[in-house]
């Protein structure tokens, strides 16, 4: 009996969270993942699926330099190596994209999975896959990549599975081209999945039009647009007139929407990029820099790789899940991205005929809705079935069966560019081999979503920046709120023609840059709602304007710059309106810390911690009452809104707390905010967390977040923050920093907060983090054929074809 119980307890997850016998077994359990620190990665493999011999030279940081004649052989090996080092992550990310997390973790993920299905993630991936497979070159690349991943998966047995499979108790399934397509949609969701339409609709009703415009303005006074002010835009040919019913049925609709989405991508997802041309650099050749800001995770979202083929020689970072280099360079050009932040996601209210959701009212008739039955497998439980209706707009995300807050009977269909068919992979495959500006311009024309600021620099001296994607053509105000879905008059009228997308090629200023700010000022003829950052762009532009004889070291320093321009503009308001005679000794001490602070968000500064708490308290003092007039909290105004309002007008109408009888003014609010902040700051002081880095506690979480804290890195000493060029927040920030000087030979420097191996039992799991935290870079080994016997090569993997 005891014996049988032992067998059961140690072999299943029913009693203990882990099957300890299986998990700790020295021959098949977790000990097998303890990679010797002097492990020899040299190997000689015979594999089906490649046409010729492929040699992979690994350097001491475990970066593979893949040398293949045929580019598809290179993609095969890239797939094999992605799987070898990152299999669990690749699969987990695509499970998440497809709404299949419940299969792994059980019913706690059912709502998440339903949301993924109902926003049409799989539908979107299928449409993307159809376009990618219609094109011979991308189909061949994907097929080769998938075969490479599967060649590795086939070599696995229980003992060499990644740790996470052993922890969670499942095994990998075969990779497929659809999974690569799903990955592109997960990125799209991360970067172009943010919208505020439902929240805005509600806010408009509660606040009225005037207050709405004051709290959620389209433009910031301090805007430094991606494309410099003063640029002349051609007059658009498209019809930008709103429908005749817009005033009555759209802008003045006064019914509330009570759905707020539980699932939203992080609004901080963004990036910096800039390129300076030879007029500004010491070498006389362009320097390109890029640092994409994403959730910091282990294993990292990025995998560094070089692809050397007959046709091209590209180096940079790739996404485990896709073939090709995503951000990087080749012999002739360098390329990088920041997020455009444009709103490409709208909702339409749908009137169903009945509960079956099988037909809806559209253009004066009942129209059939396609029904997609989503089957969500749940670990240890029965499947969950969910029916999603598809309309001319797209999937009906919200209806009676899927709502988040309060009872709501309405149905909303989602129109999202991510559902359109397009072949975005083709852009990357073409960029990898692009030789000049024309090749780059052609490559980016294939890209439809998520909208990006695509930066370019070439050895021949050109620099360029295009904000590129297929952006919906909107009349002014279209898509800010939920739109009527009973006829076609509110549908998008098409897309802005690519040539009219904001762009800048070899400007006189000698540089181009972007930092997720609004692409253009108000003279740009199209309506471009979105989620934009204001302050990083100000610092970047001011710095770059004054920089000459620039070297790569200068660009590295700029990427790690901690200057807080927001505080520069906001601090005078705090100083001016605080009533000094009403402060306690503690409060005066914090006031002095703020006033004596050098405005740098450096790791050891305490002034920044004091400033942040004071300003946040002021923000709450001013807006909390106004935003809580309804059971559904209203979306918060952007941080520039309060700063600019107070800069313009000290009698700003929201200053008074509507819930009190006395009338508050700016003096009382600023002083009261410091008193509130002091309570928090005293607590932090007691915990020794006043220093910025200690307060911020920069953490690189494992993808399993709080369930796997020993696999994370916490307490990383780093400065920066929101609105700072060094955008490092608590768990979010520069996920790859790259500086490329387009000289001959190219000088390339980069780093990311992770490591090449996804195995928590490998010394290559997180070995870049300290270098990254210090603001240092690795010099990239950009290999050419003649370097095959370089001493920088530590191991060689040979892939031999088997016919």
């Amino acid at each position: 009996m005891i014996n049988a119980a032992m067998f059961y307890v140690l072999g299943t997850r029913e009693i203990l969270p882990l099957p300890l016998g299986e998990f700790l077994s020295v021959q098949e359990g977790v000990w097998q993942n303890a990679e010797s620190t002097d492990f020899d990665f040299t190997s000689d493999l015979n594999l089906k699926g490649i046409n010729g011999k492929v040699d992979v030279y690994m350097d001491e940081r475990l970066v593979p330099h893949i040398f293949a004649e045929d580019e598809n052989d290179a993609y095969f090996v890239q797939g094999y190596l992605h799987a070898k080092f990152r299999l669990w992550q690749m699969e987990f990310q695509t499970f998440a994209a497809a709404g299949r997390v419940s299969e792994i973790v059980g019913d706690k993920a059912v709502q998440f999975d339903r949301n993924q299905r109902r926003i049409g993630m799989v539908f979107a991936a299928e449409n993307a896959l159809a376009a990618m497979e219609k094109d011979d070159s991308t189909k061949a690349a994907l097929d080769a990549y998938t075969n490479g991943v599967n060649a590795y998966i086939s070599s696995l047995n229980k003992s060499n599975l990644p740790v996470e499979y052993k922890l969670l108790g499942y095994i990998p399934e075969k990779w497929s081209n659809l999974k690569s397509a799903l990955f592109t949609k997960q990125m799209t969701y991360t970067l172009a999945g943010f919208d505020k339409d439902l929240e805005y609709t509600n806010a408009l009703k509660v606040l009225g039009e005037d207050n709405f415009k004051l709290l959620y303005p389209e433009l910031a006074d301090s805007l430094y647009p991606v494309i410099a002010k003063g640029t002349v835009y051609p007059k658009p040919l498209a019809d930008l007139m709103p429908p005749s019913t817009a005033d009555s049925l759209y802008f003045n609709r006064r019914d509330s929407v009570q759905i707020t989405s539980d699932f939203k991508p992080n609004p901080s997802n963004g990036s910096n990029n800039w390129a300076a041309n030879g007029t500004k650099t010491k070498s006389g050749k362009p320097i390109l820099s890029n640092d994409p800001h994403l959730s910091l995770s282990l294993p990292s979202i990025w995998f560094e790789v070089q692809l050397h083929t007959k046709a091209f020689n590209s180096y940079g970072v790739s996404f485990p899940g896709l073939p090709g280099v995503v951000i990087g360079f080749n012999d002739s050009i360098a390329f990088g991205f920041t997020n455009a932040g444009r709103d490409v996601k709208d909702y339409y209210e749908i009137k169903f005929k009945d509960e079956s959701k099988s037909s809806y009212w559209f253009d004066s008739a009942w129209k059939n809705a396609d029904q997609r039955i989503e089957k969500i497998k749940v670990k240890g439980q029965k499947d969950v079935l969910d029916t999603v209706a598809y309309t001319v707009f797209g999937p009906v995300t919200y209806d009676k069966s899927f709502k988040n807050e309060l009872t709501n009977e309405k149905a909303y269909a989602l129109r999202w560019v991510a559902h359109d068919t397009s072949n975005i992979l083709k852009m990357w495959l073409l960029l990898n081999r692009a030789k000049n500006y024309d090749d780059y311009h052609h490559a980016i024309s294939y890209f439809n979503v998520p909208g990006q600021n695509m930066i370019f620099a070439s050895h021949s001296g050109d620099i360029a920046l295009w904000q590129q994607a297929t952006f919906p053509l909107r009349w002014k105000g279209q898509g800010l709120f939920v739109m009527p879905g009973e006829d076609s008059s509110y549908m998008w009228k098409g897309y802005i023609p690519m040539e009219e997308n904001p762009h800048s090629v070899n400007p006189l200023s000698g540089y181009v840059s972007s930092a997720n700010q609004r692409p253009a000022d108000s003279t740009y003829p199209y309506f471009v709602p979105g989620t934009y950052e204001v302050y990083r762009a100000i610092t970047i532009n001011k710095k770059l304007e004054g920089m000459f004889n620039i070297t790569p070291d200068d660009m590295k320093a700029l990427q790690n710059n901690n200057y807080n321009v927001f505080a520069e503009l906001a601090r005078p308001i705090l100083s001016k309106y605080v009533k000094r005679d009403q402060l306690s000794a503690d409060e005066i001490a914090y006031l002095q810390q703020v006033e004596n602070w050098n405005l740098m968000n450096d790791p050891l500064e305490t002034g920044v911690t004091c400033f942040v708490h004071w300003w946040d308290s002021l923000y709450n003092n001013i807006y909390f009452d106004d935003l809580h007039q309804t059971p559904n909290t209203l979306v918060k105004p952007e941080k520039f809104v309060l700063l600019e309002a107070l800069t313009r007008d000290s009698a700003y109408k929201f200053i008074d707390d509507i819930n009190t009888t006395e009338v508050e003014n700016l003096y009382t609010q600023v002083t009261n905010a410091l008193k509130k902040a002091t309570v928090q700051l005293n607590q932090l002081k007691k915990e020794d967390k006043l220093e910025w880095a200690k307060f911020k506690n920069t953490t690189v979480y494992h993808l399993l977040k709080n369930n796997a804290m020993p696999f994370a890195r916490t307490g990383i000493m780093n400065g920066g923050g929101n609105g700072i060029i060094n955008a490092t927040q608590h768990d979010h920030g520069p996920s790859w920093r790259m500086v490329i000087e387009m000289t001959q030979p190219i000088h390339a420097f980069a780093v990311y907060p992770g490591g090449q191996s996804g195995n928590p039992g490998s010394k290559y799991y997180d070995n870049f983090i300290d270098t990254w935290a210090k603001g240092e870079y690795y010099t990239l080994f950009y290999m050419h054929k003649e370097d095959v016997s370089s001493e920088l090569i530590k191991w060689k993997m040979s892939f031999n074809p088997v016919l």
Binding site: I2, N3, M6, F7, L10, G11, L18, L20, G21, E22, F23, L24, S25, V26, Q27, E28, G29, V30, W31, Q32, N33, A34, E35, S36, T37, D38, K158, V163, L167, A708, M709, P710, F711, P760, G761, S762, K763, Y765
Partner: protein
């Protein structure tokens, strides 16, 4: 003598079985050794426990040392909530030893059942 033979046999068989069978092959080893090597039940248990615990423990220690305990540090925090690779090594030995040792007792009991 039987005690030592029993311990060594358990360790060797566990290794051999583990090459092609799942983790529970150590329980089969316990059953077999308990069945075929006649001793008092307590000695069956202790000898198999010792053999397998040492095999698992030393194996884990060896692997972990050449890994500079990178993985063991993390997994120890995860499984036993202690920042101690060595404790995880001992815990591993314990789990291996107990599960095979109890099987040895079962094996010995079966042997006694069939040969009264």
């Amino acid at each position: 003598m039987k005690f030592i033979v029993s311990a060594i046999t358990s360790a060797l068989l566990s290794y051999a079985f583990g090459l092609f069978l799942p983790w529970w092959s150590i329980m089969i080893v316990g059953l077999l050794v308990g069945y075929f090597i006649p001793q008092k039940r307590i000695f069956s248990f202790l000898s198999v426990f010792l053999g397998v615990a040492l095999f698992w423990g030393l194996f884990a220690l060896f692997v972990s040392t050449s890994n500079e305990h990178i993985l063991a540090k993390r997994v120890a925090m995860l499984v036993i909530k202690k920042d101690s690779p060595l404790l995880l090594v001992m815990f591993t030995g314990l789990i291996g030893g107990i599960s095979s040792g109890i099987s040895a007792v079962t094996g010995r009991s079966l042997a006694l059942l069939f040969k009264p």
